[in-house]
């Protein structure tokens, strides 16, 4: 299990390729579930030029770990990877990666869904969008 909260860009597919190779070697992996969240150029009726992600260092990692541990008690998982960015983010860039490896697809897919859903409600991140006129606004949790 790895939880990584980082400021710089990351390439989800390169990260996954490395993990997959290592996990595939065990011969135990039958299913990989992946979610990648990327920054759209439009949200809540407005053109979005970019985003700044604020977080609560320490609490963020702690709660992401808890979410992944909870998933590990509910489903049979071989491994879990979560990468989440903070700081400035450009449109089209990945913001979050959740990946789960399991023997069976139900475990991988349901755990992946659970982790991203729980992350959205429990991990202390806050998005501030930069709009077309360079105005900024905090993202509404309902949007």
């Amino acid at each position: 299990m790895e939880i990584r909260v980082q400021e710089g860009v990351f390439d989800p597919w390169k990260e996954l390729a490395v993990w997959q190779d290592r996990i595939a070697m065990s011969g135990k992996c039958g299913a990989t579930g992946v979610f990648v969240g990327t920054l759209r150029d439009f949200n809540d009726g407005q053109v979005v030029k970019g985003l700044t992600l604020e977080h609560y260092p320490g609490m963020t990692e702690k709660h992401l770990e808890k979410v992944c541990e909870d998933a590990g008690t509910r489903w049979q998982l071989l491994d879990t990877l979560v990468i989440h960015r903070h700081g400035p983010i450009h449109t089209g860039d990945p913001i979050v990666l959740v990946a789960t490896w399991a023997a069976h697809r139900r475990d991988a897919l349901e755990a992946c869904r659970y982790i991203i859903d729980e992350l959205k409600t429990r991990a202390p991140f806050w998005k501030k969008e930069t709009l077309a006129d360079n105005g900024m606004r905090w993202v509404d949790p309902g949007s």
């Binding site: 969240g37 992600l53 604020e54 977080h55 609560y56 320490g58 609490m59 702690k62 709660h63 989440h84 913001i95 979050v96 991203i116 992350l119 959205k120 409600t121 429990r122 991990a123 202390p124 991140f125 806050w126 998005k127 501030k128 905090w138 993202v139 509404d140 949790p141």
Partner: protein
């Protein structure tokens, strides 16, 4: 008693500071930490954490605690 208080996102902007240190024996719960630091009514949907765990408004605070106030989270 000494308590570290943190503010994040829109709450940080409203309060005008990211961190505060409360040195007082008059605070016994989270709501009192807010009143002392913020000098304004509690916003709707305000969340609070003590030592990086979500807590209720009435949660007790102790010497050395880290208390944080922030709006609903929007990660992912």
């Amino acid at each position: 008693m000494s308590i570290t208080v943190k503010f994040f996102a829109s709450i940080r902007e409203k309060i005008g500071k990211a961190e505060d240190i409360v040195e007082s024996d008059k605070v016994s719960q989270v709501s009192e930490v807010w009143s002392l630091c913020a000098a304004q009514p509690k916003p709707a949907n305000l969340l609070a954490a003590v030592n990086q765990e979500y807590v209720t408004w009435e949660h007790p605070v102790r010497d050395g605690d880290e208390v944080a106030f922030f709006p609903p989270v929007t990660g992912g």
